[in-house]
């Protein structure tokens, strides 16, 4: 059993067996992070480039730690320090990086589809670490791993995703992933932040927060992505919080064994109150810990593939 494609561009491209392979591998890699010597020699001699055109703390650090724990060499490039500021195109940046023979390029970009463009220009495997409002597959996989650890399984669960669905790549990846794994997904949020096509992806819409959380096994709260908003989507943060913010009082209507998740960064007091974010139902920091294991699994599974054919295809396309 191995991954079918050379890249991880989105959950949409993965089938259920591949998702389970990634989760099982991550589970088997957790012990590396739980001992004094947090390093194994597995990816010695592999080079990983973190190419981040957007701000990130968790994801970039998580990929860097994952690579280093597997003994790969990890190089970080951020937009402010890259030649993009001098006007180099994305494809030129990618081809120049490829000329230095990396094995894996991890890409975050503000535009949906940027990792796909890079993937077509390079022989290295490409991992999408978040592209615009499109997908964020490694975040979704670490969410699945966390749910599986807490609940034992994913199939049959009801997951409520609340907040800025429209601008959330985490929501998109999670709707694909959770429905593939046999869970039911309901979404709720300000009407302006609920794109109509979300129902075609397999999620059902609830009008209010209370309707969405009442029968949910897991509640995922999302941050308002102000940086992606081009106009006014809701009157004020205070009003948003009153309608779609999760606090201890509203949580009383949820199941007694509910699990609260958040992909971070958290805007305390807006979409989630501090006593809920830090409360007994919250697994926000477990999500972060699982992120390292998931990224180790992705790096391990991708770098082990012999994808000569897909590499050849990339070369041929470049030559055409």
């Amino acid at each position: 059993m191995q991954l079918r494609n050379k890249d991880i561009l989105g959950i949409k491209d993965l089938d259920r067996d591949e998702i389970e392979l990634i989760l099982d591998t991550a589970e088997s890699l957790k012990w590396v992070s739980n001992r004094d010597i947090k390093k194994v020699p597995t990816l010695r001699g592999k080079t990983i480039i973190n190419l981040f055109f957007e701000a990130s703390t968790r994801t970039r650090t998580s990929f860097e730690i994952a690579g280093k724990r597997m003994s790969a060499d990890v190089i970080n490039i951020s937009a402010s320090s890259s030649s993009a500021v001098k006007g180099e195109t994305l494809i030129d940046t990618a081809k120049n990086l490829q000329a230095m023979s990396p094995d894996i390029i991890v890409v975050r970009h503000g535009s949906s589809g940027a990792p796909q463009i890079i993937s077509g220009a390079v022989k290295a495997s490409v991992i999408n670490a978040g592209d615009g409002c499109h997908e964020h597959p490694s975040q979704s996989l670490l969410d699945l791993l966390t749910i599986r650890q807490v609940k034992g399984q994913i199939e049959g669960l009801r997951i409520a995703i609340i907040g800025d669905i429209k601008h959330s790549r985490v929501a998109r990846s999670n709707i694909y992933a959770l429905t593939k794994m046999g869970a039911q997904v309901v979404v709720a949020g300000f009407p302006t932040l609920l794109p109509p096509e979300i129902e075609k992806m397999g999620a059902s819409i609830r009008k209010t927060l209370d309707e969405a959380i009442i029968d949910a096994d897991v509640i995922m709260m999302l941050r308002i992505q102000k940086e992606r908003m081009t106009g006014p989507y809701f009157p004020t943060e205070r009003e948003y919080s009153m309608l779609f913010g999760l606090n201890a009082k509203r949580l009383k209507s949820a199941k007694s064994d509910v699990t609260i998740m958040h992909p971070g960064p958290v805007n305390r007091g807006v979409e989630i109150s501090p006593e809920v974010a830090d409360g007994p139902y919250s697994v926000i920091l477990e999500q972060v810990a699982n992120g390292v294991a998931i990224r180790m699994a992705l790096l391990y599974l991708l770098s082990g593939r012999k994808h000569e054919e897909s590499r050849k295809e990339a070369r041929d396309e470049n030559n055409n």
Binding site: W31, R35, K39, T42, R305
Partner: protein, 179 residues
């Protein structure tokens, strides 16, 4: 290519080997103080459980037992067609200053044992690492020797040895007869 099957150990043979190896381990370590077993996934896990059960029968108290998966330490990852599935490693005791007995079903090239020793040393600093195997089939490619051996079996490189350590115990050798 056809192959013929030959039994090299039956259930009684396996049980006698386990009993003898247990006594030898206890004799070499002068009892169970600081002693622990680590089974190499997957073939060594059941054998380590049998040995620990036998040692507990003899000594009256149990010893720590762990499981090690060597996948991340293999020396053929860069040439393998794809990375093998990683199994879990479960060592929930400190190995510092322990006398560890690594356990595997079949000793062959020695590469698995090399990987297991490197993996163990990243967990801490054991006082000593010993090696117990049910079958030593020869053809070593590294300078590695077992301390406790159930049975030495001369083999050809084409032979396949299968140890059954669940249910109907036994060890079979599948000898290829193509030339």
């Amino acid at each position: 290519m056809t192959s013929i099957k030959r039994k090299i150990l039956d259930a009684d043979g396996v049980n006698r080997a386990i009993t003898r190896i247990s006594h030898e381990i206890l004799e070499a370590n002068k009892g169970i103080e600081n002693l622990a077993l680590v089974g190499i996934r997957t073939g060594g896990v059941d054998l380590a459980r049998y040995l620990s059960k036998k040692i507990e029968e003899i000594e009256g108290s149990s010893i720590p037992i762990g499981i090690i998966d060597i996948t991340l330490y293999r020396d053929d990852l860069s040439i393998a067609t794809h990375h093998p599935i990683v199994g879990s490693t479960e060592i929930d005791f400190s190995i510092d200053d322990k006398n560890l007995v690594l356990v595997d079903d079949v000793l062959y090239t020695g590469r698995t044992v090399r990987a297991a020793m490197d993996a163990l040393i990243d967990f801490g600093r054991p006082k000593a690492i010993m090696l117990a195997v049910l079958i030593d089939r020869g053809h070593r490619e590294l300078p590695i020797k077992a301390d406790f051996v159930g049975k030495n079996v001369p083999t050809s490189k084409n032979d396949v040895i299968k140890a059954r350590l669940e249910g109907d115990l036994g060890v079979d050798i599948f000898i290829s007869k193509d030339d």
